[in-house]
């Protein structure tokens, strides 16, 4: 039992007693007992549906409904100080469109960069040599660093008076900080994208490596035996399988980045603003019309996230 206790849930199957054999002579159950057992089973089944639904409804559904519901009510002008007609204004507002495009751009490039890095590491360093283990350890270093801290680190590195700018002066690439390219607060979000890749790489590396170790090398070995080159085995077998397995995690990263406030708060330009910051700006504006717009923009962001959540659940096949 001690091994079972130490290993936790998964590995206890082999020490668990076997199920009783189905057709055992001394276990013939009288008909009345079967009837009552069936009734109990039905009741249990009904309860097994009611309990999770009730709990999930209260604990998760209520806050989500409150969050989305208030946004809908706010957008329609039913609650708060918002003036009606926010929807039309928001849909015609070029700032909102630019915010949506910028947020999608950052999330897409950041997620793609982190995914590419994770695939590269998983393919190149899935062995047991010292270099493999070193690469995997370094790749997972930013894992415990929260978003705020990651944003501060990238800011101190990339700002015009940051460390890279100092390095550029030292090697005579530039003469003064103002000559250093604007990598943070820039309109195309270079700083945020770098921060996203830095922060999300470890998570995707872990996912990719655990997929690699679950899959083993038999498929690749078979392909190699059948005459595939190393590159063919990687591009036709390893990469597609990895991408398929990583798909839910990639969607999850994308949606987190899309909604994250911390990175834009530290690194984003003031024009155009990413979606979360635009919502904040409109909420804090002094005129009532802007408050209504904040709710509408929040709804747009919510819709994008919910869409991603559905895609995420659809991609997960273990549920």
């Amino acid at each position: 039992m001690s091994a079972c206790r130490t290993t936790g849930a998964g590995s206890c199957a082999d020490v668990a007693p076997r199920r009783l054999p189905a057709h055992h002579p001394e276990l013939v159950i009288p008909a009345t007992a079967t009837a009552s057992a069936t009734a109990t089973a039905t009741a249990t089944a009904a309860r097994s549906r009611a309990v999770p639904l009730l709990l999930a409804g209260i604990l998760l559904g209520l806050p989500i409904v409150a969050g989305v519901g208030y946004s809908v009510a706010g957008a329609m002008g039913w609650v708060g100080t918002a003036a009606p007609g926010g929807l039309q204004r928001v849909l015609a507002d070029v700032h909102v469109l630019r915010a949506v495009v910028l947020s999608l751009w950052i999330a897409t490039l950041g997620t793609a960069g982190a995914t590419a890095g994770a695939l590269l590491l998983a393919v190149l360093f899935d062995g047991n040599a010292r270099l493999d283990r070193l690469a995997r350890t370094i790749g997972s270093l930013p894992l415990p660093v929260p978003n705020v801290a990651a944003a501060v680190a990238i800011l101190l590195l990339l700002t015009q008076s940051g460390w890279l700018s100092r390095l550029a002066v030292q090697v005579h690439l530039i003469a003064s900080p103002s000559q250093f390219p604007a990598l943070v607060y820039d309109p195309i979000g270079v700083g945020i994208i770098v921060a996203v890749i830095w922060k999300e790489l470890p998570f995707l590396v872990l996912v990719a490596l655990s997929l690699q170790s679950l899959r083993g090398s038999s498929l690749t070995a078979a392909a190699r035996t059948l005459g595939a080159t190393r590159w063919q085995a990687t591009s036709r077998i390893t990469l597609p399988l990895l991408l398929r397995g990583m798909a839910p995690s990639i969607v999850a990263v994308f949606v987190f980045v899309l909604g994250s406030l911390e990175l834009p708060l530290v690194l984003a330009p003031s024009s155009p603003l990413p979606l979360p910051l635009l919502i904040q700006e409109r909420r804090q504006a002094l005129d009532a019309a802007s408050h209504g717009e904040a709710y509408v923009i929040a709804l747009i962001a919510t819709g994008m996230a919910l869409l991603a959540a559905v895609v995420h659940e659809w991609l997960r096949d273990d549920a």
Partner: protein, 263 residues
């Protein structure tokens, strides 16, 4: 195969530079006094920013709030998500998927959007700008994360142990106390850690629901950054990473011990 080895060496070097440089700059900034452009290294080091985190009264308050919120969130979210995850895992596939979708939504909804509605709810309850109000808001993503986690644990769970205990006459309470909870020790510890970290790193919900009245360590870091106090901001940012670092090392040690028992 020298070409392959060259590529591997180049990738490791690039990876190291990419990952380690921001961390190194963060550590140096937290210790640097009078470090001006274009000096590559600080002229002198001091630990005042670190000691300020603990001795300065306003930082201490923020740190205290962060710790209280983290512990409360982790304990409450774990005790609610465990029964939810278990009952959902025992239920039909459709319900399992709906619960998973709800839980993922609680995690994935943009905190700014979710917080807008939560703020109004908390204000209606008369808890706006209080620690309890912020706690309620932190619980939403925390319960989402932990429900997903326990759903995973119980979907792969061997329910026969529980059934055998029941067959042997153990009452419901006894089954929980003597079979389930001892087996669940590790997932529960992980859930407590994860719940703490979700609250510990939270910015958007604290900002919206706390309305600036509830200060936590991440908000302090942002404030120091805006005030141009880079040294203090860097120290605070590194302090933010400490709990997760402890959890990760503990998990690594636990994994090593496990490997010794079951290869």
């Amino acid at each position: 195969m020298p070409f392959g080895r060259l590529i591997r060496a180049a990738v490791v070097t690039a990876l190291t530079l990419f990952v380690v440089t921001p961390l190194a700059v963060l550590v140096l900034t937290s210790l640097a006094r009078g470090w001006f452009h274009p000096a590559l290294l600080p002229p002198s080091l001091d630990v005042s920013a670190w000691t300020d985190l603990v001795t300065d009264a306003s930082h201490r308050l923020a740190l205290r709030n962060s710790i209280i919120l983290g512990i409360a969130t982790s304990v409450i979210a774990t005790s609610l998500a465990l029964p939810l995850g278990r009952s959902a895992a025992l239920s039909t596939r459709a319900i399992r998927r709906s619960v998973a979708l709800l839980a993922f939504s609680a995690v994935a909804l943009p905190p700014v959007a979710l917080g807008t509605g939560l703020q109004l709810t908390v204000l209606t309850l008369g808890l706006g700008g209080t620690l309890v109000g912020v706690l309620l808001a932190h619980l939403v993503p925390a319960i989402g994360y932990l429900t997903l986690m326990f759903l995973g644990v119980f979907t792969r769970w061997d329910h026969r142990l529980d059934e055998v205990a029941a067959t042997l006459g153990a009452a419901r309470r006894e089954r929980w106390r003597r079979v389930l909870l001892p087996l669940l020790r590790r997932p529960i510890a992980e859930a407590l850690a994860l719940g703490f970290l979700v609250s510990w790193a939270q910015v958007a919900l604290t900002l919206l629901v706390g309305g600036g009245a509830v200060r936590t360590l991440p908000l302090d870091v942002l404030a120091m950054l805006q005030a141009g106090q880079d040294q203090r901001a860097a120290a605070g940012a590194l302090a933010l990473a400490i709990p997760a670092l402890v959890v990760l090392s503990a998990a690594r040690v636990a994994a090593r011990n496990t490997a010794a028992v079951v290869p």
